[in-house]
C-alpha cells in the first residue's frame, strides 16, 4: 500500500467529522486531530499480564506474557506479546535472541493440536480421540508389563522390575510434572528411565 496516498485519503475523510471535538477545543487543528486519531492505540492496553519463565536455557530469565483475555478468569486467552521481567534479579528485563522470539514458539505452525496415531506400516498420522489414545496406550502398557515383568532374578531375589518398556522424561516440564511422572513410572516398576540432562 502507498502510505502517502492512504494517509491523505484518511485525512480527507476524517477531518470534517472530528472538527469541534474536545481535542479541537484544546487547541488542536483539524489536521492534528486527525493525525492523533490515526495513531494506533498502545497494543498492550487492556491486556492481562502473567509472570512466567523462559522455557529455553537454565538461566531462568523472568518474562511477562501479555494476553488478550484473562485465563485466570476462565476466559480464552491469546498471548500477543512477551518481554523480559525488569524486576527479575538475573535478567533484569533483558532477553537473548531465543527468549526475545518466545512468542513464535507458542504460535508455531507445528504446535500439536490433536492426538494422532500412526498404524504399523502406514505413511501418515490419523487423528484420534484422547480416550482412544489413552486406553490403547494403557492396554499396550499392561499387556507388556504382565508378559515381561521380572519378579525374581536368577538367584531368587525379589527384584520387581519391568525392562521391556522405557520412558524418557523431558527437560522443560515443571517439577510438579516431574513428580507426577516419577510416581507413575516408578510405581509400574520401570527402570529404563532417563531425562535430557546429558544432551
Amino acid at each position: 500500500m502507498n502510505m502517502e496516498l492512504s494517509r491523505r485519503r484518511f485525512m480527507i475523510g476524517a477531518g470534517a467529522g472530528l472538527a469541534g471535538t474536545t481535542i479541537g477545543a484544546l487547541g488542536f487543528g483539524d489536521v492534528e486531530t486527525a493525525y492523533a486519531a490515526a495513531i494506533q492505540p498502545f497494543k498492550l492496553l487492556g491486556t492481562t499480564e502473567t509472570r512466567n519463565t523462559c522455557t529455553y536455557c537454565a538461566v531462568g530469565c523472568g518474562i511477562i506474557m501479555y494476553s488478550k483475555g484473562n485465563l485466570a478468569k476462565g476466559e480464552q486467552a491469546d498471548i500477543i506479546h512477551i518481554e523480559g521481567d525488569v524486576d527479575h534479579p538475573t535478567n533484569r528485563g533483558t532477553l537473548c535472541p531465543k527468549g526475545a522470539a518466545l512468542l513464535d514458539f507458542i504460535h508455531a505452525e507445528t504446535r500439536l493440536k490433536y492426538p494422532m496415531a500412526r498404524k504399523p506400516g502406514s505413511d501418515k498420522f490419523e487423528r484420534v480421540t484422547w480416550d482412544y489414545a489413552l486406553d490403547r496406550i494403557t492396554r499396550l502398557m499392561k499387556d507388556d508389563r504382565d508378559q515381561n515383568f521380572i519378579a525374581k532374578n536368577a538367584a531368587g531375589v525379589t527384584v520387581n522390575r519391568w525392562l521391556s518398556t522405557g520412558f524418557l522424561a523431558a527437560s522443560a516440564t515443571t517439577n510438579e510434572t516431574a513428580w507426577a511422572t516419577y510416581k507413575v513410572v516408578r510405581s509400574a516398576g520401570m527402570l529404563v528411565f532417563d531425562n535430557q540432562a546429558r544432551v
Binding site: A117, D123, L163, A170
Partner: protein, 811 residues
C-alpha cells in the same frame, strides 16, 4: 551451580572453559560483563573456537577438544611448583593431609587393579588408611609420601607446560599467561569462578574434566566463597529439577539410590548407606539417609508402606546394571529387547549419537508414545524425507502415538534454574486445540492403568494400585497439590518423648524443612532436598522480593533455592578455620562466638563450632576430596586420555584407546574410526540464535539462522579446495551429511604431537521438521559412547573427513 548467576558480579577472575556462555547463556553472561565493568574482573576463555565469549576475553587460549585434563592438571602442577596454593584452606578443608593405603599406585596411565577384559577396575586399594580409632590417619605436616597431597604432587608432575603444548596445541607462552592469572587467585582474598557446560560434560571422561577444575578451585580456596565456585551452566530450563527429582534409572528423588540386586532387603540396603563420619566430630549429613528414604516411601505408598513390610521396599524395582541410561536403552532397543517407549518433550532422533543406529532401534519398537508441544523428528522417524530421513516407511511396523501437550505459557508450576532457584510461574494462555498438560496426561495414564489392574488383576499390581493419589481431581492434580507433596507433610502427630503434652509435629501440617524428617513413618516427603519449598509459610517458590542487602548478589528472598534456601553451597568455607571471612569485603558468613550469621543460610549447623566441624558436611570426611577414593570409575585422580576417536595416539600410553573404564558396546567399538581414514577433529556446538531443535519451529529464529552449515578454518578450506558458501560432504565411520561450508578465522589449526590438527565445527540445530530449511545434526556422525561415570555421549570430540561437492541433498 554452587553459586548463582547474580553472584558472578563478585568475582575477580572468570574462567570459561567447556562452555560458551556469551552465546548459549547470554543473559547470565551479563554478570561477567558486570564483574569486568564494576570490579575490574578479568575473563579467560579456553576453547577450540574463538567464540563470542572469547571475543570479550582478556586472554583467549586455543585448545584441542578432549584435552582439558592435560590443561587442568598442568594448572595444578603450575600452582604446586610455584607455591600458589591457599594453604590454610587446602590443609583444613580438603583431604590433602589424609594417608592413602599402601597398595594404591599409578603407572603409565592406569591405576592399581585394572582388568582390560572387563574395561573396569578392582578399586579396593583406592582408599584411606584407617587408624585403630576407626578414623582416617592424617599427617598434618604433609611430609608422609602416602598423604594425598604428595600423591597428587607426584601425579600431576608430568603435566608440564611443554606437555600441555604438545597435547592440547596451546602455545606454551599462552598457557603460562593463563596459569599465572589463575594462580594469583590463591591469595586468601582473590576468587575465581569456573563457568562450564556441555563442552566439558560431553566427553568419555566428562566427569573427570569437572572434577579436575574442582580440585584446582579447592587448592586455590575458591569454593564456598562469593565470586567463586563450580558453576555448571545447565542447558535446559528445568533439567536441574528433573535431575534433582531423580528421573533417571538409578535414582530416587534427592540423590538417593535405587536399590540393586545386591540389596535384597532394607537392612542390607541401609548397610551401604550409613555414612559413618570418617573424622572425629564431623557432621556427615547423609547419616540421615534412612529418614529421607522412609519419608519418600511414605510419600509414594502411604499406609501401604509399613514398618513390617520394610516401608514397601519391594515396591521399588531393583537395578541389575550400573544404569539404564539413554545409551543402554537404545542399545537394548537395537537388540529388539524393548517393546514400548515414551518420549516426553524429548527428541532423541536428533539428540543422541549415531542416528543410523537410533532409526534402526526405533523401527524395532512395537509402540512409541510422544508427548510434545511440537511436531518432532522422533514422532515422524518413520516418514520418508529423502536424504534427510531416508527410511522404508512400509517396513516400519511401529505403532506411534503423538499426544499434544501444553507449553510453558499454558502451564503453572516451578522450574529449577541452574542456580538451584525454584521459580514458580503461571499459565497465561489457552492451549491450542485439544493440547493437555503433561500432568493431565500422566495422571490419565496412571489412573487408567490402575483401573485395568483393579478390573483384571495382573502381575504384581500392588505398587500401582496402592500408589498415593489423594488429589481433589485424580484425573488432573493441581501443581500446588503436587508441590506440597514434594515439600512433605506430617502423617501422624509427634510429641516430645519427655513431655507427651508437647506437640513437635502436628498431623496434616506441611513440613517446615527436611530437618524434621523421621524414619518411623510419621512424615512423608517426595524429595527431601526440596523440603521447605511449600511449607506452612506458603508457596516459597512464588516469592518475588528482589531486595539484596548490601548488594551482596544473594537475593535470598527471591523464589526459593534448595537446600534450605541456601544460595551458595559450602558457604561455611567462605570463612577461615576460626570463622572469620577470608575477604571481609566479601563476607558471606561469620562466626559471632555462638552462631553463624551473614547474608546466606549457613551450610552447617548454625551453632557448629568453627574449629571442630569441617565445612563439607555432605562427605563422611567433612572435607572436600582431592583424592576421590573409589567414587570415580576411572580413578581417584584425573588422567589425560584421548577421545575414542583422536587425531593422535595417547601420549602417556599409546596402547590405551579412549577412557579405559568407559563402557563400550561391542558393535559400537567396531564403529570407531581412526585418524588415517578420518583425519579431522570434529566438535558440535550451539548457535546463539537457536535452542536445540526447538527454535527451528519459530519463524524469527528460523530466519536468523535458516540453514545447516559446518564451520572450518581458512587453512583447511584452502587445502581441500573448499569455497566459502560452497557445498561439502562430511562423513564419519557412522554416517554422512551434506552442508554449506562457513570458512572463518575463528577456527585455526593446532599443532599437536608434531602434527597439524584441523578442527571442524558442526552446529546442532537442524532436522526435517519446522520452519527452517531441512538439514542434519552432528548426531548423524558422532560415536555411541559415553562418559564412564555419567554416560554423557562424546559429542565434543570425534573424527570426520570432508570434501567439496557440487550440490546439496535431494529432499
Amino acid at each position: 551451580m554452587t553459586n548463582s548467576w547474580t553472584d558472578i558480579q563478585n568475582t575477580d577472575l572468570v574462567v570459561i572453559m567447556g562452555g560458551n556462555a556469551a552465546e548459549a547463556h547470554p543473559c547470565g553472561f551479563k554478570w561477567v560483563t558486570e564483574a569486568k565493568a564494576n570490579r575490574g574482573a578479568r575473563l579467560i576463555v579456553v576453547d577450540p573456537r574463538f567464540t563470542r565469549s572469547a571475543s570479550v576475553a582478556d586472554v583467549y587460549a586455543p585448545i584441542r577438544q578432549g584435552t582439558d585434563i592435560a590443561f587442568l592438571n598442568g594448572l595444578i602442577n603450575y600452582c604446586i611448583q610455584n607455591d600458589k596454593v591457599q594453604w590454610e584452606y587446602t590443609k583444613a578443608y580438603t583431604n590433602a593431609t589424609y594417608l592413602v593405603k599402601d597398595g594404591f599406585g599409578y603407572q603409565d596411565g592406569l591405576f592399581t587393579g585394572y582388568d582390560e577384559s572387563k574395561r573396569d577396575y578392582d578399586r579396593s586399594t583406592w582408599d584411606y588408611q584407617i587408624g585403630d580409632d576407626g578414623f582416617i590417619v592424617v599427617d598434618e605436616t604433609l611430609t608422609n609420601p602416602r598423604c594425598v597431597w604428595n600423591l597428587l604432587k607426584q601425579h600431576v608432575s608430568i603435566y608440564t607446560p611443554e606437555f600441555v603444548e604438545r597435547v592440547c596445541g596451546t602455545p606454551k607462552n599462552k598457557f603460562l599467561q593463563v596459569a599465572k592469572m589463575i594462580a594469583e587467585t590463591s591469595a586468601k582474598d582473590k576468587f575465581m569462578t569456573s563457568m562450564y557446560a556441555l563442552g566439558w560434560t560431553q566427553h568419555s571422561k566428562g566427569s573427570q574434566n569437572i572434577r579436575n577444575m574442582a580440585m584446582l578451585q579447592l587448592i586455590l580456596g575458591n569454593i564456598g566463597v562469593r565470586g567463586g565456585g563450580m558453576n555448571a551452566l545447565r542447558g535446559h530450563s528445568n533439567i536441574q529439577g528433573l535431575t534433582d527429582l531423580g528421573l533417571m534409572s538409578h535414582l530416587l528423588p534427592g540423590y538417593l539410590d535405587i536399590p540393586t540386586d545386591g540389596a535384597p532387603d532394607l537392612d542390607n540396603y541401609m548397610s551401604t548407606h550409613l555414612f559413618k563420619p570418617l573424622r572425629p566430630n564431623q557432621t556427615s549429613y547423609w547419616q540421615n539417609y534412612r529418614k529421607f528414604f522412609v519419608s519418600f516411601q511414605k510419600a509414594m505408598w502411604g499406609a501401604a508402606a509399613t514398618k513390617d513390610n520394610d516401608w514397601a521396599y519391594d515396591y521399588l524395582p531393583k537395578l541389575d546394571v550400573d544404569s539404564y541410561d539413554i545409551l543402554r536403552a537404545f542399545e537394548l532397543m537395537h537388540q529388539g529387547k524393548i517393546n514400548g517407549y515414551f518420549c516426553q518433550g524429548f527428541n532423541p532422533l536428533l539428540a543422541f549419537p549415531n542416528r543410523r543406529k537410533l532409526t534402526t532401534a526405533l523401527s524395532k519398537l512395537k509402540w512409541l508414545v510422544i508427548m510434545d508441544p511440537l511436531d518432532t523428528e522422533t514422532a515422524r522417524f518413520w516418514e520418508n524425507h529423502g536424504e534427510y530421513n531416508d527410511v522404508d516407511t512400509t517396513n516400519i511396523r511401529t505403532e506411534v502415538f503423538q499426544l499434544p501437550s501444553t507449553c510453558f505459557a499454558e502451564d503453572t508450576g516451578s522450574l529449577t534454574n541452574s542456580a538451584r532457584w525454584l521459580q514458580w510461574h503461571w499459565a497465561g494462555g489457552t492451549p491450542p486445540g485439544e493440547a493437555k498438560s503433561d500432568v493431565w496426561i500422566m495422571a490419565q495414564l496412571g489412573q487408567r492403568l490402575k483401573a485395568l489392574y483393579q478390573k483384571e488383576g495382573g502381575t504384581f499390581p500392588d505398587p500401582i494400585v496402592n500408589l498415593t493419589w489423594n488429589y481433589k481431581d485424580p484425573g488432573d492434580p493441581t501443581p500446588e497439590e503436587l508441590a506440597k507433596e514434594l515439600n512433605g507433610s506430617v502423617l501422624e502427630t509427634v510429641t516430645d518423648p519427655a513431655d507427651s503434652t508437647k506437640v513437635l509435629l502436628e498431623k496434616g501440617k506441611q513440613l517446615g524443612s527436611f530437618a524434621v524428617l523421621r524414619d518411623d513413618g510419621t512424615t512423608a516427603c517426595g524429595s527431601w532436598i526440596y523440603s521447605g519449598c511449600f511449607n506452612e509459610a506458603g508457596n516459597n517458590m512464588a516469592r518475588r522480593d528482589n531486595t539484596d542487602p548490601d548488594n551482596a548478589g544473594v537475593f535470598g528472598k527471591w523464589a526459593w533455592s534448595w537446600p534450605l534456601n541456601r544460595r551458595i553451597l559450602y558457604n561455611r568455607a567462605s570463612a577461615d578455620v576460626s570463622g572469620k571471612p577470608w575477604d571481609p569485603s566479601r563476607k558471606l558468613l561469620e562466626w559471632n562466638g555462638t552462631a553463624w550469621s551473614g547474608y546466606d543460610v549457613p551450610d552447617i549447623a548454625p551453632n557448629a563450632k568453627p574449629s571442630v566441624v569441617s565445612p563439607f558436611i555432605m562427605t563422611a570426611e567433612g572435607t572436600a576430596r582431592l583424592f576421590a577414593r573409589t567414587l570415580m570409575k576411572e580413578g581417584p585422580f584425573p588422567v589425560h586420555y584421548e577421545p575414542f576417536e583422536s587425531p593422535i595416539a595417547n601420549p602417556i600410553n599409546p596402547k590405551i584407546r579412549g577412557n579405559p573404564a568407559a563402557r563400550v558396546f561391542k558393535d559400537d567399538m567396531e564403529q570407531f574410526g581412526d585418524a588415517k581414514e578420518f583425519p579431522y577433529a570434529a566438535t558440535s556446538y550451539r548457535l546463539t540464535e537457536h535452542f536445540h531443535y526447538w527454535t527451528k519451529h519459530c519463524k524469527i529464529n528460523a530466519s536468523l539462522q535458516p540453514e545447516f552449515f559446518v564451520e572450518i578454518g581458512e587453512e583447511l578450506a584452502k587445502e581441500k579446495g573448499i569455497t566459502p558458501g560452497g557445498w561439502v560432504r562430511v562423513w564419519s565411520k557412522r554416517g554422512s551429511v551434506k552442508a554449506k561450508a562457513v570458512v572463518t578465522k575463528r577456527i585455526r589449526p593446532l599443532i599437536c604431537d608434531g602434527k597439524t590438527v584441523h578442527v571442524v565445527g558442526i552446529p546442532l540445530h537442524w532436522g526435517f521438521m519446522g520452519e527452517a530449511r531441512k538439514g542434519f545434526g552432528p548426531n548423524s556422525l558422532t560415536p555411541f559412547v559415553g562418559d564412564a561415570n555419567a554416560e554423557t555421549p562424546e559429542f565434543k570430540a570425534f573424527l570426520v573427513n570432508i570434501e567439496s561437492i557440487a550440490s546439496g541433498p535431494v529432499a
